[in-house]
Amino acid sequence: MDLPRYHRLRGAYYRLEGRRCTGCGAVAFPPRPACRGCGGRELEVHALAPRGRVHSFTEMATAPRGFDPPHLMALVELEDGPIIAAQLTDIDPEDIAIGMEVEMVTRRIQEKGPHGYLVYGYKFRPPVPRGEAS
């Protein structure tokens, strides 16, 4: 992730903001300059739901450089429909199941070495279980 690209995409990375076509209503994530449905160029900022379910997942045995193991990748089906690719966190690989509920959190995605910049972005994790009030 180079720095200008990260900066440009911070709305998507921090707040799950995509684009919605004012013509045909199609939603794009990450944001695109034109609608893939109708070719329209009138697009508005559209925040996706920060909750969904695991549609599919895999564990990459060797994390790419700059990423930390275990590298857990999932397709997450968001509450409002779109399926996006994202890392899972705060979970052990053996506990992941297709269909499980997950929520968006902001985490470190990449570290450009000890002197470089940090990339923050969305990951998904199981919601914090809420116990009975004591």
């Binding site: 940090l118 990951k123 919601p127």
Partner: protein, 350 residues
């Protein structure tokens, strides 16, 4: 100190990472006969993808989520108090403000005052809202506390914190009755620029630092309010180790019952700038309308901020999302010292 207009907390949120390292895991690496009297049973450790920015964002999201009628763009100040900022130069607060949808028309900065940075942010947030400069100000105290491998600090230096969103009193779940600050130049604890780990200064920890400032600030606030320890339902203090809190509270006349809900260190260690703010969040999780809360932080260097709060009827409708107890109950134990070193970036793959 009192503000021109009354101010209170409108929303609050906490964060504690999922990982815990038991004291026994650390002592197994350094003390062949084990720790004789461990101060805490275990401490919280951040995941490999966590730091003060990510933790502050989560606490801030919970705080804002508890007052959904407040448009984030009306928040005029975001301050993150920490002594473990991810960047030496580049504000954490701008990332937090951007993630929470508060940018661009806001004041934003990082505060540093050892473990008092978070409550310093609270004092300033109270002043900003209390003066009418802004309608809401977000004060966060959050730390991933550093400790040298093998050092006594390694047994208690934990991670976590909380966010408190200050608003005019008529929208608050807990109204500020008053506050004081008490600071001196005391060399009990420091970390130089570029140093990875902090140092304790001679034997300044304890009597001339924590107790002197905590007791003095607390007594001043009680005197200003014309109140006594017994007038409060809850009391929260900075928590380097639980026994410091017990002694300070006893000297001030608070009972074990009054400090019970706010004492989180036994289950997660010392969250530094986050410690007292997290204790306050744990009390707000339990407090009932009409109750009074006493709060006093401590930060090395040194100083204390004391606040008194009065809980309002709004508290019952502002508890959505994860509570402090939920974060403390969500725990994954790290029993391997090497794994702990990796999570704390004390060993790295480069």
């Amino acid at each position: 100190m009192k503000t021109a207009r009354a101010v209170g907390i409108g929303g609050y949120g906490a964060y504690v990472p999922r990982y815990r390292v038991p004291t026994a895991t650390i002592s197994a690496a350094w003390r062949p006969h084990g720790a004789t009297k461990p101060a805490v049973a275990e401490k919280s450790v951040p995941g490999a993808d966590e730091d003060v920015v990510t933790m502050a964002i989560e606490a801030g999201r919970t705080a804002l989520g508890r007052i959904p009628e407040l448009d984030p763009r009306t928040i005029g100040a975001v301050w993150v108090g920490s002594e473990s900022k991810p960047y030496a130069v580049k504000p954490s607060a701008t990332v937090v403000a951007e993630a929470l949808g508060i940018t661009p028309a806001t004041v934003a900065a990082d505060f540093e005052f050892a473990c008092k940075a978070g409550s310093e942010a609270m004092q300033t947030a109270v002043a900003f809202v209390g003066s009418g400069m802004t309608e809401a100000a977000l004060a966060i105290g959050m730390d991933t506390a550093q400790s040298r491998p093998g050092d006594a600090l390694e047994y208690t230096a934990g991670c976590g914190g909380a966010a408190h969103l200050f608003v005019p009193a008529d929208q608050a779940l807990a109204v500020v009755e008053g506050s004081v600050s008490y600071v001196t130049d005391t060399p009990d604890f420091f970390r130089r620029e570029g140093a990875a780990y902090p140092e304790h200064g001679s034997r300044f920890t304890g009597e001339p630092s924590y107790f002197e400032h905590t007791l003095a600030a607390s007594r001043r606030l009680l005197a200003e309010l014309g109140a006594q320890a017994g007038d409060f339902d809850h009391a929260v203090f900075h928590q380097p180790v639980p026994k410091f809190v017990v002694r300070a509270s006893e000297e001030l006349g608070f009972t074990a019952e009054q400090i019970r809900h706010g004492l989180v260190a036994p289950r997660m260690g010392n969250a530094y700038s986050g410690s007292s703010l997290l204790g306050l969040a744990a009390v707000l999780d339990q407090a009932r309308p009409g109750e009074r809360i006493f709060f006093c932080s401590y930060g090395s260097g040194a100083g204390s901020d004391a606040f008194a709060f009065h809980v309002t009827e709004r508290i019952d409708e502002r508890r959505q999302g994860a509570r402090v107890a939920d974060y403390l109950d969500r725990r994954r134990e790290i029993t391997d010292y090497g794994h702990y070193l990796r999570l704390r970036s004390k060993i790295r793959r480069d």
